[in-house]
C-alpha cells in the first residue's frame, strides 16, 4: 500500500451559483499522520472534506486516497478505507437503534451476520458505548451521539478517519473524553475544527485554509505561534498558548 494515504493536487471547486470554494488546494498526508484543518467560516474546510469522501468532485485537480484516485468508479474502495464523521450526529445516525446504526456500514459491505455482530460489538466497546447498543439513536445525549457516530465508522475498519467539527456542542467532559479517544486511535486522522485547543492536542500537523487556498501547512506548534498568520486567517492562538489573563504569566507549552 502507498504511504501517501491522502493527497490533493491543485483542487478547485465552485458551488452551483459560481461561488468559488476551493482554489488550487494541494497537500499530501502520510500514513498515520494526524492533521488539523483550520480556517475561518467559509474557508472551505467542509467542502474539502466532502471531496476526500467523494461526495463532491472537483472542477479540476485530483484527490487520491490510498492507492486510488477518487472517481465514481473507485468510490466503494475509497469509502471502505476512509471513514467520514459528520458535524451533526443527527445526519449520521438515521437508523432506529444504536446497534442498527453501527451495523449499517458492515451490512453494506455484505459481511456475514456473525461478522457484522462482532464488528458492532467491537466498535461500541472501543468508544465505551457497549451499553447503548439497543437504545434509540435519537434519544441519546450529545456526547453519546458523538461516540456512536465514531463507532458507526470504526465498524467499517477504515484506515483514515475524517472528522468535521467533532467537538461542536459537546460539554467540556464529553469533549475531554473525545480528545482522549481520538488520541488513542492509530488511524490517519484529518480533523476540521474551530476548536484549536483540540487540534493542538490531537494533531501534530496543521493545514490552514483561507479563502479556498492553503495559507500554511506545517507543525501545529509553529503555526499556532504565528500570530500574523492566525490573524490573516481569522483565527487566534489556542487558549493554552495564550498568556494567563489573571497573572500575565507566559503560556504553557
Amino acid at each position: 500500500m502507498s504511504h501517501h494515504l491522502v493527497s490533493a493536487e491543485d483542487l478547485c471547486f465552485a458551488y452551483a451559483d459560481g461561488t468559488p470554494a476551493l482554489q488550487g488546494v494541494t497537500f499530501t498526508i502520510h500514513h498515520g499522520e494526524s492533521v488539523g484543518l483550520v480556517g475561518a467560516n467559509g474557508a472551505g474546510k467542509s467542502t474539502l472534506l466532502l471531496h476526500l469522501a467523494g461526495v463532491l468532485f472537483p472542477v479540476s485537480g485530483h484527490v487520491r486516497v490510498g492507492d486510488w484516485p477518487v472517481t465514481s468508479a473507485t468510490l466503494p474502495r475509497v469509502r471502505r478505507s476512509l471513514g467520514m464523521i459528520f458535524q451533526d450526529p443527527d445526519d449520521q445516525l438515521f437508523m432506529p437503534t444504536v446497534g442498527d446504526d453501527v451495523a449499517f456500514g458492515p451490512l453494506n459491505l455484505d459481511l456475514p451476520p456473525e461478522e457484522v455482530e462482532a464488528r458492532v460489538g467491537e466498535a461500541l466497546e472501543r468508544v465505551g458505548a457497549a451499553h447503548l447498543r439497543g437504545r434509540p439513536s435519537h434519544r441519546l445525549s450529545g456526547g453519546e451521539k458523538r461516540s456512536i457516530t465514531i463507532a458507526s465508522v470504526l465498524s467499517m475498519s477504515p484506515d483514515i478517519l475524517v472528522l468535521d467539527e467533532p467537538s461542536a456542542s459537546l460539554d467540556p467532559a464529553a469533549r475531554r473524553r473525545l480528545i482522549a479517544l481520538l488520541r488513542s486511535f492509530e488511524h490517519t486522522k484529518i480533523v476540521a475544527s474551530h476548536d484549536l485547543d483540540l487540534v493542538l492536542e490531537v494533531c501534530a500537523r496543521t493545514i490552514v485554509l483561507h479563502e479556498g487556498r492553503v495559507a500554511a501547512d506545517g507543525p501545529t506548534a509553529g503555526i499556532f505561534a504565528d500570530d500574523a498568520l492566525l490573524a490573516r486567517a481569522h483565527l487566534e492562538r489556542p487558549l493554552r498558548l495564550q498568556g494567563c489573563p489573571r497573572c500575565g504569566s507566559a503560556a504553557a507549552r
Binding site: L50, A53, V55, L75, P76, R79, R80, G83, M84, F86, D88, D90, D91, Q92, F94, M95, P96, T97, D100, A103, F104, G105, L107, N108, L109, P113, V116, G134, P136, S137, H138, R139, S152, V153, M156
Partner: protein, 270 residues
C-alpha cells in the same frame, strides 16, 4: 403551542420506551402481533353502523395485551384523549341528523344518531388503543421490520422508518422556530398567514438540506441503494397459536351476538 408539541412528542417517546420491556407479549414475533392487530381492525370495521354492544367483546384483546405486556393504562389513555377530538368531530352531528328512535333504555328513547355516535367512539377507542399497544409492546422499528417481512415494499418501509426517526428532529426545528418567533412577536401573537407561510418554507428548505446531508452520510458508509435491515425474526408455534387463537375469537364475536347470548343465559339463570 411549542410546549404542546414538545409534550406530545415526549408522550410518543414514552410509549416507545415501553417496547424495551421483556414480557411474554414483548417476546412474541412482531408479525404475530401485527397480523392480529390488522385482523382486529378488519373485525371492527365489519360491524354495522348502529352496533355498540356487539363490538365490546373485541376489547378483550387490547385488555389482555396491556395486562400481560405490563403496559400502564395512563400513557395509552392520554394518547386516546389527545386524538379523541377527531373521532368526536366525525360523529358529533349524527344525533342531530339521525333522529329515528331505535332502542329504549327504560323511559329513555335512544335515537339512531346517538347509537352511531357511540359506535364511532367505541371503534375509535378499540382501533387506536390496539395500535398504540402494538407499538408499546413491539417498538416501531420492529413493526416496520414485520411489515417488510410480510411483503410491504421496502421503499415504503424505509420511508416509515425515516419519518419516525426524523419526526423528532423536524419537530425540534419547528419548535425552535415558533419560540424564536414568539420571542420577537409583540404580545405573543400567533404567526399570521404570511409569517407562517415563510416559516413553513424555511422548514422545507432545512429539511431538504438535511436530507442531502443524510444521503451523503449514507453514501459514505457504502449505501448502494439496497437497504439491509437486520432483524432476525423467528415465527414459532407460540406466535402462530397467538395469532390464530385471537383471530378465532374475533370471528366468533363477529358471527355470534355474545352480549345478547350472555344476557339470555343470565336471564334464564335469574
Amino acid at each position: 403551542m411549542t410546549a404542546r408539541i414538545e409534550s406530545a412528542l415526549a408522550h410518543i417517546g414514552s410509549i416507545e420506551d415501553l417496547a424495551a420491556l421483556d414480557t411474554p407479549i414483548h417476546r412474541l414475533d412482531p408479525r404475530a402481533k401485527l397480523v392480529t392487530t390488522l385482523a382486529l381492525l378488519v373485525a371492527v370495521a365489519s360491524f354495522g353502523r348502529y352496533e355498540v354492544t356487539r363490538l365490546l367483546p373485541l376489547a378483550l384483546y387490547p385488555i389482555v395485551l396491556a395486562a400481560l405486556g405490563d403496559v400502564p393504562a395512563g400513557p395509552i389513555l392520554a394518547r386516546l384523549a389527545l386524538a379523541s377530538p377527531f373521532a368526536i368531530l366525525v360523529g358529533i352531528f349524527n344525533p342531530l341528523i339521525d333522529r329515528a328512535p331505535l332502542a329504549a333504555l327504560g323511559p329513555v328513547v335512544v335515537t339512531g344518531g346517538w347509537l352511531s355516535f357511540a359506535s364511532i367512539l367505541v371503534r375509535f377507542g378499540l382501533s387506536l388503543g390496539t395500535a398504540l399497544l402494538l407499538v408499546a409492546t413491539t417498538g416501531f422499528d420492529a413493526v416496520c421490520a414485520a411489515l417488510a417481512r410480510l411483503g410491504l415494499p421496502r421503499a415504503l418501509v424505509i420511508q416509515l422508518l425515516f419519518v419516525y426517526r426524523y419526526l423528532f428532529v423536524l419537530s425540534d426545528d419547528a419548535a425552535r422556530m415558533i419560540r424564536a418567533h414568539g420571542l420577537r412577536a409583540p404580545l405573543g401573537r400567533r404567526p399570521g398567514l404570511r409569517v407562517a407561510g415563510s416559516m413553513l418554507g424555511q422548514l422545507l428548505l432545512r429539511t431538504l438540506a438535511r436530507a442531502q446531508r443524510i444521503h451523503a452520510a449514507m453514501l459514505c458508509r457504502g449505501f448502494d441503494g439496497v437497504f439491509r435491515l437486520r432483524r432476525p425474526l423467528r415465527l414459532g408455534a407460540r406466535d402462530v397459536a397467538f395469532a390464530v387463537g385471537w383471530c378465532g375469537w374475533f370471528a366468533l364475536v363477529r358471527a355470534v351476538d355474545l352480549p345478547q347470548l350472555l344476557g339470555a343465559v343470565l336471564g334464564r339463570l335469574g
